[in-house]
Amino acid sequence: MNLLKNYKKGQSAWCYLLIAPMLIGFCVFTIYPICWALRYSFYEYNGIDATFIGLDNFVRLFTRDPGYWEALVNTFLLTFGKLLIELPLALLLAVLLNNSLKGNGIFRTIFFMPNIISTAIMGLIFFFIFDTANGFVNNVLLEWGIINVPINWFGEKWTAMAVIAMVSIWQGFGINMLFFLSGIQGIPKDLYECASLDGANKWQTFIHITIPMLAPVMQVVLMLAMIGTMQTTDLVLVLTNGQPAGKTEVIMTYIFKYFFNYGGGNSIPQYGYATAGSIVLAVILGIFTAIYLKITKKGTQIY
């Protein structure tokens, strides 16, 4: 008995030792920043002097900062606009590639490929492709006679947003396709056999078997995709950097610019205000996620 007790004691020590790196990291790089943010959201802080200003940062955010809310709206528009195209496309491809098709593996490999390339690098390449004067897209459209004057893609809010969404879709549809594919492969085959015995056609089996059986996978995929898109930072920084005139700023880049100078700007950082913005954002997204989980809970109970 004594031996067992000793072993258990030793085991606890070993466990703490084994999780030590993550535990230390968690305290220092997650807990500490949160506490830091909670504290400085009540301060005006430029890196040198910190003055306590109470709730002023939050008051400013809610009453005097339309830029923040525009960036938040942009983020939601980008997320929903993008996922409206990306997820159906991914689902369609997953269904198509689930059949025994020649070159199946090659298609999968290629469609997933954009996912392995750095988002920042892709932002740079698309910046060239959509350049006004020398960009590939404008040149092709001009040559084919579709347009007469080069389109200034990054000069208008909506075209710039469309380009951002395009890059984001381009990079994300492959992984979602794989998620759906592994979900589809988990559906029991006999369900399809029963359906075909009952004379259901392909469309009917898709609507009545594939979609409901995929619901749990879809819940996770949709949530990951939403959270992922809402955190879009480097793509926007590299591609438009908020241009024209901050109209394509998403929430992460908007906050980021109060922390750091980016792209040659030379303003004084406002750490206190930036943390207040982050905290409000975290709360909004937390509420959003909670609502999402509550709404989708019913749809996923299939068994």
């Binding site: 072993y7 258990k8 030793g10 085991q11 606890s12 466990c15 030792l17 084994l18 999780i19 790196p21 535990l23 968690f26 220092v28 790089f29 997650t30 500490y32 920043p33 198509l96 098709l101 490999t109 290629i110 469609f111 997933f112 490929m113 954009p114 996912n115 392995i116 390339i117 750095s118 988002t119 920042a120 690098i121 892709m122 932002g123 740079l124 390449i125 698309f126 910046f127 060239f128 590939f136 040149n139 092709v140 084919w144 381009w170 998620f179 592994s182 996770v220 990951l224 959270i227 809402m230 930072t233 992460m252 980021f256 922390f259 750091f260 792209g263 930036a274 943390t275 982050s278 975290a282």
Partner: protein, 278 residues
């Protein structure tokens, strides 16, 4: 009718393949063009002649040698560290019994769902300054290694769960301590999952932009490839260095691409199983 349907299917898929590959092809072919040709080549994708001048210039003049070295250094140590820490923690959370296990695990996992985003970047930088590691690549490496990777943790934990307990019970009876069981019995069995984690974290670290950018703002000579390439865009002579930037993007993409084509299976496995199990 069936052949017709199949035909449409293939046309659709091949068109999509073309769209998927186009940006990369544009960058690849563009990287062989001179700047002059880039600006006037219009809708032509292929270069007039394949010249590697851009690569030579980028390598010698534009510091891409340093950037590549930084990237390799940073990625090597980060990946090694991440693999070790996930293996250790995954084993402890799977087999170990210790006070606070469930709370700690829940806290770790919750980092996946709380959206901290840019909020942690500045405090991290401050901590690095405090430890005097903000001017070397080790600052970034330490941030990468010590941060909680919930997905990796899940992957290792469920892998250890699938190893029969009899194996380590036998070793325990033979007098192995908990740590010894890990080092000599479990760790060798973890190879496949650790390979997957190594590849996924290689991808993440190699491609990362924001954290290394923030850390190397004041020391450009420590920038990894992605940061180095993108920083050219924000310099004054951006318009005259398209060719260098394209060569730079390819230098950063090609190693990743080769790895992906060789180890495709691990990529797909790691990316999908991590999310679905999580």
């Amino acid at each position: 009718m069936r052949i017709f349907k199949k035909g449409i299917l293939y046309i659709f898929l091949i068109a999509l393949v073309f769209i998927t590959l186009l940006p990369v092809m544009y960058a690849l072919f563009g990287s062989f063009k001179s700047n002059q040709e880039l600006l006037v080549s219009g809708a032509k994708l292929l270069p007039e002649s394949f010249s590697i001048d851009n690569y030579i210039t980028a390598w010698k003049m534009a510091d891409f040698k340093t950037y590549t070295f930084n990237s390799l250094y940073l990625t090597f140590f980060s990946v090694t560290g991440v693999v070790c820490s996930s293996a250790m923690a995954g084993y402890a959370f799977s087999r170990g019994q210790f006070p606070g296990k469930n709370i700690i695990f829940t806290l770790f996992v919750s980092t996946m769902f709380i959206c901290l985003g840019t909020i942690t970047l500045y405090p991290k930088l401050q901590i690095a300054r405090l430890l005097h590691i903000n001017k070397s690549l080790w600052g970034i490496i330490i941030m990468n290694v010590f941060s909680v990777g919930a997905t990796n943790l899940f992957l290792v934990r469920s892998f250890v769960n699938s190893i029969p307990r009899e194996i380590d019970e036998a070793a325990t009876i033979d007098g192995c301590s908990f740590g010894r069981v890990f080092a000599s019995i479990i760790l060798p069995l973890l190879k496949p999952i650790l390979a997957t984690i190594a590849i996924i974290s290689f991808k993440t670290v190699w491609n990362d932009y924001l954290l290394p950018m923030v850390f190397t703002i004041s020391t450009p000579s420590k920038a990894p490839l992605v940061v180095g390439v993108v920083s050219l865009k924000n310099t004054g002579e951006a318009a005259t260095s398209w060719n260098l930037m394209l060569a730079g993007t390819m230098i950063s993409i090609i190693p990743m691409m080769v790895l992906y084509l060789c180890l495709n299976r691990y990529f797909v496995e790691g990316m999908t199983s991590g999310a679905v199990k999580g």
